[in-house]
């Protein structure tokens, strides 16, 4: 406290200790211990099994033997390619899924009509529609984007639908008696009111899309992380397969932590909508 007299007690060193406490309280220390444990276990197993470079290369081997990929600029290139596909596919998914979900949420007739069809297609995973898309568009970028869009669409549309349905009718009545037009109600009430579900839908949809990108790249893509681990397996480069897997998981954690969660925090928490 700024007003406390300095003579009362020896002043603690606030900055490092506070930071350390936040680190340990936020689960940082546990995570670090867990990571070290996993790496130690992984190294031990690698050193015990025969032919580790084929079955389970040690962590250091993965880093060193993959380093030529880094130097040649291949890895950044693949990562960039995969992220670019995810970003564009997700934007498409949001642009189609959010208005579609709103339409379904607002109109009973439309939702009763579409619901069984949506439910039907939801059961057919992105990877299962890929063959027919390949027949239509071949091994093209368009094929990959279609699969991403298709995958992201359902969680987004279903969540937005639930969000719109959950908006108290009284908000809409109030707006109507303030003279609001339907467009105004959608802008001022429906979209912000459905925001928690839009955020959930986006996070789920983009999460599914991330898996779909990797799967899509394995089968049709040129370059990209999925393509990388698939061809690495073909050419017996297990170290690259593992590197690719680690990259996939790590990139997702970074996307979720630094792109998706801040959006949630910036809107929903500020409005007090997540106290449930």
């Amino acid at each position: 406290m700024a007003t406390t007299s300095p003579s009362l007690s020896p002043r603690p060193r606030p900055v490092p200790s506070a930071r350390w406490r936040r680190f340990t309280k936020g689960g940082g220390a546990e995570l670090l211990i867990l990571l070290v444990g996993i790496i130690v276990l992984w190294s031990t197993i690698s050193s015990l099994i025969p032919n580790p470079s084929r079955y389970l290369p040690a962590p250091l081997t993965v880093i060193f033997s993959s380093s030529d990929m880094l130097w040649k600029g291949l890895l950044p290139n693949y990562v960039g390619q995969t992220i670019w596909r995810l970003v564009l596919g997700s934007i498409l998914g949001l642009l189609v899924g959010i208005p579609f979900g709103i339409l379904l949420g607002l109109n009973r007739t439309v939702s009763d009509m579409f619901y069984p069809i949506l439910n039907f297609f939801q059961s057919i995973s992105g990877i299962a529609i890929l063959p027919i898309i390949v027949v239509w568009w071949g091994n093209s970028e368009q094929t990959v984007f279609t699969v991403i869009l298709y995958t992201a669409l359902f969680p987004i549309a279903f969540n937005v639908l639930a969000g719109v349905r959950g908006i108290p009718i009284i908000y809409i009545n109030v707006m109507r008696s303030l003279g609001a037009s339907n467009m105004r109600i959608i802008r001022d009430v429906i979209i912000p009111g459905a925001m928690p579900n839009i955020a959930t839908g986006a996070r789920l949809g983009i999460g599914f899309a991330w898996r779909a990108v990797i799967a899509g790249e394995m089968l049709v893509g040129k370059r990209g992380l999925g393509w990388m681990i698939f061809t690495a397996q073909d050419t017996d480069h297990t170290d690259q397969v593992i590197l690719g897997m680690v990259m996939i998981g790590t990139i997702w954690i970074l996307i979720d932590r630094f792109a998706l969660r801040p959006i949630e925090a910036d809107t929903i928490q500020r409005w007090g909508l997540v106290q449930r």
Partner: protein, 263 residues
């Protein structure tokens, strides 16, 4: 001058949501509210008070009779009838100031003019300093003040209030009633307040419409001529005129309440 709000021979029935039975909610209701008058509608629960308000607000189509505001038939919701609902219904994603100015925003009033006028109403309901707060940071009473200010700020011809203080605690309710009295004195807004609380109706009303139990009919109209600047709870509780009016309304309402409690 013709009354601001005219209801003539209004009847309404609707099928019950669960049983499908035909519910006869209102039966041949006629009432007038003149300009600047604060009217209260009081009656036992289930007497069709809320149905009446929803019809006046234009949220419910009616079957028989006439409803006119400023001489024009009510057909659907319109900003000439501002509504304050039982649940405050202010938007959680808008700050206090943006909620209160929402009606003006919808009317297309330009920004600078809008913020001046919005500020007037923020001050009127004693929320100065809370302009940039979000609703979840406010108490129940403060939220209801935001809802009241939002309605008044849009400058409706008549203000309709549906049990606006039913959801707040007793202490807050008394404060809000006194504040609403002060605001009624300041704005002279033509108002129709729906309530089941006899004290509230007698405290706030210039006149008080007492309804029968369902199907709701107008049973009696009681005028209360106590000047607004004398309407302070501590004084009124011992004021013979107020006590007599309140008891008159209470007797009228109690005759309608079923001996088994809720009907």
């Amino acid at each position: 001058m013709p009354p601001k709000l005219v209801v003539q021979g209004l009847s309404h029935h609707y099928p019950d949501e669960y049983t499908g039975e035909d519910v006869h909610a209102l039966d041949n209701v006629s009432l007038d509210v003149e300009e600047g008058v604060f009217a209260a509608v009081v009656g036992p629960s289930g007497c069709g008070k809320t149905t009446l308000l929803n019809i006046l607000a234009g949220l419910l189509p009616y079957h028989k009779g006439h409803v006119k505001v400023d001489g024009v038939d009510v057909k659907g919701p319109s900003p000439d009838r501002g509504v304050v609902f039982q649940e405050h219904a202010i938007l959680p994603w808008r700050t206090v100031a943006r909620n209160i100015g929402h009606g003006l925003e919808i009317q297309g009033m330009p920004g600078p003019e809008r913020s001046t006028r919005t500020q007037e109403f923020i001050d009127l309901v004693n929320l100065t300093g809370f302009e940039d707060r979000y609703p979840h940071e406010l108490s129940g009473g403060m939220k209801q003040r935001v809802a009241l200010a939002r309605t008044l700020c849009a400058n409706p011809v008549v203000m309709l209030m549906d049990e606006p203080f039913a959801a707040v605690d007793a202490q807050t309710r008394i404060t809000l009633q006194e504040e609403l009295n002060r605001i009624a004195m300041a704005t002279k807004k033509t108002t129709l307040l729906i309530t089941h609380n006899v004290d509230e109706a007698a405290f706030l009303g210039d006149k008080c419409f007492v309804f029968t139990r369902r199907p709701g009919k107008l049973k009696a109209t009681v005028s209360i001529d106590i000047p607004r600047d004398k309407r302070i709870w501590q004084d009124l509780l011992h004021d013979p005129e107020f006590v007599a009016k309140r008891d008159e309304i209470l007797t009228l309402v109690r005759e309608e309440v079923s001996p088994h409690g809720d009907d």
